[in-house]
């Protein structure tokens, strides 16, 4: 099988090879365009997130996909599922708003809790932080798709698997001819 692949490559001339490289570039750049485009449309710095922990079970399991929006004019309300970042933690957290206080000047502070946790999130926040504010929010969960995120979890847990998949895709795109 490998021989036939190399035969394919050998039989290509320069123009054909360039064409394959260009189409490979097209795939990479259109993926990037879709991601950046979604960022503009949803207003969120990370419009799609993968659930990484079981703290929202049984609603969300590890590997489920969430679609986020983060429109500044839409107020945060109790019961919504927010994705937020905490200083000193790289991974954003997906939890539900439990308490909320909004001042006359529009500043909001709120407290979150995971459905599957028995206590609120004050223990997860940064040292001395009692409340979240709007600037901590990455987005609010609007759409849900199960299981799809397992692929990225596997890729992050087994880097070898990630490189193997990427290499296979690259070879396929570069060598495959219509």
């Amino acid at each position: 099988m490998l021989d036939s692949i190399f035969d394919d490559v050998k039989r290509m001339n320069k123009r054909q090879f360039m064409y394959q490289v260009l189409s490979f570039g097209m795939i990479v750049s259109s993926a990037l365009m879709i991601w950046k485009g979604l960022m503009v449309v949803t207003g969120s710095e990370s419009p799609i997130v993968v659930v990484l922990s079981g703290s929202m079970e049984p609603a969300f399991h590890r590997g489920d996909l969430l679609f986020l929006t983060n429109y500044p004019e839409e107020p945060v309300r109790v019961g919504e599922i927010v994705v937020f970042k905490v200083e000193g933690r790289d991974i954003p957290i997906v939890h539900r708003v439990l308490k909320l206080h909004e001042k006359n000047n529009g500043t909001v502070k709120f407290l979150t809790k995971g459905d599957n946790n028995s206590v609120d999130d004050r223990g997860l926040y940064a040292q001395g932080q009692l409340w979240l504010t709007k600037k901590d929010v990455v987005g609010r969960a609007r759409g849900f798709l199960p299981y799809v995120g397992m692929v990225t979890i596997y890729m992050n847990e087994y880097p070898k698997f990630k490189f193997a998949v990427l290499a296979c895709l690259a070879i396929y795109v570069l060598v495959h001819r219509e």
Partner: protein, 179 residues
């Protein structure tokens, strides 16, 4: 021409696209469903204390205690694209400090197939009713509402408020008794 790889590839691609298509149709089929319904709620015992909030600022804040009745039938909200309902009972009120306060007092997860005919009498709240300051004593308009967040198999995650709410007052004095 027809190696194991190409056949496997074709089967995988076809399976995935059929699955994606069915999931999308499942999402479309429940897009326009109206998930509102009525709920009756009532407060039984309402008292307020003024104690230090050691979980947060350590200042003395108003802490409300209440027990409530709740009656609603949510069985008909479940369809093939509702995996779970997340019910929550919210107290909403205005204080001089804040133009909006929302505190979740109680919540419940109902999975599909579980009993969704609820009739609670004199239930205790699940979470503490801490105010952000001292705004609960003699407050004469706190509104209780029931809402649910619908968790689908695949699709949108709407938050729906029940039809019907209940307003209540807090006593004009702090209680000295243990609650």
């Amino acid at each position: 021409m027809y190696s194991v790889l190409t056949r496997g590839n074709a089967i995988l691609t076809y399976t995935l696209s059929v699955l994606a298509c069915l999931t999308f149709l499942c999402f479309l089929s429940t897009l326009t469903v109206d998930y509102r319904t009525a709920a009756q709620m009532n407060t039984v015992k309402v008292v307020v204390k003024n104690v230090p909030d050691y979980g947060a600022s350590r200042e003395r804040n108003d802490l409300g205690f209440l027990t409530f009745d709740l009656k609603t039938d949510l069985s008909h909200l479940f369809n093939w694209n509702v995996k779970q309902l997340f019910l929550y009972l919210t107290a909403e009120y205005i204080t001089p400090n804040n133009e909006l306060n929302q505190v979740v007092l109680w919540d419940k997860i109902i999975l599909r197939g579980e009993n969704a005919l609820l009739d609670f009498k004199n239930m205790n709240t699940k979470y503490y009713f801490w105010d952000d300051g001292n705004g609960l004593k003699a407050h004469n308009n706190v509104t209780l509402t029931l809402s649910w967040n619908i968790i689908p198999n695949a699709g949108l995650l709407p938050n729906i408020q029940a039809i019907g709410q209940h307003s209540f007052k807090f006593p004009t004095d702090y209680t000295q008794t243990r609650v």
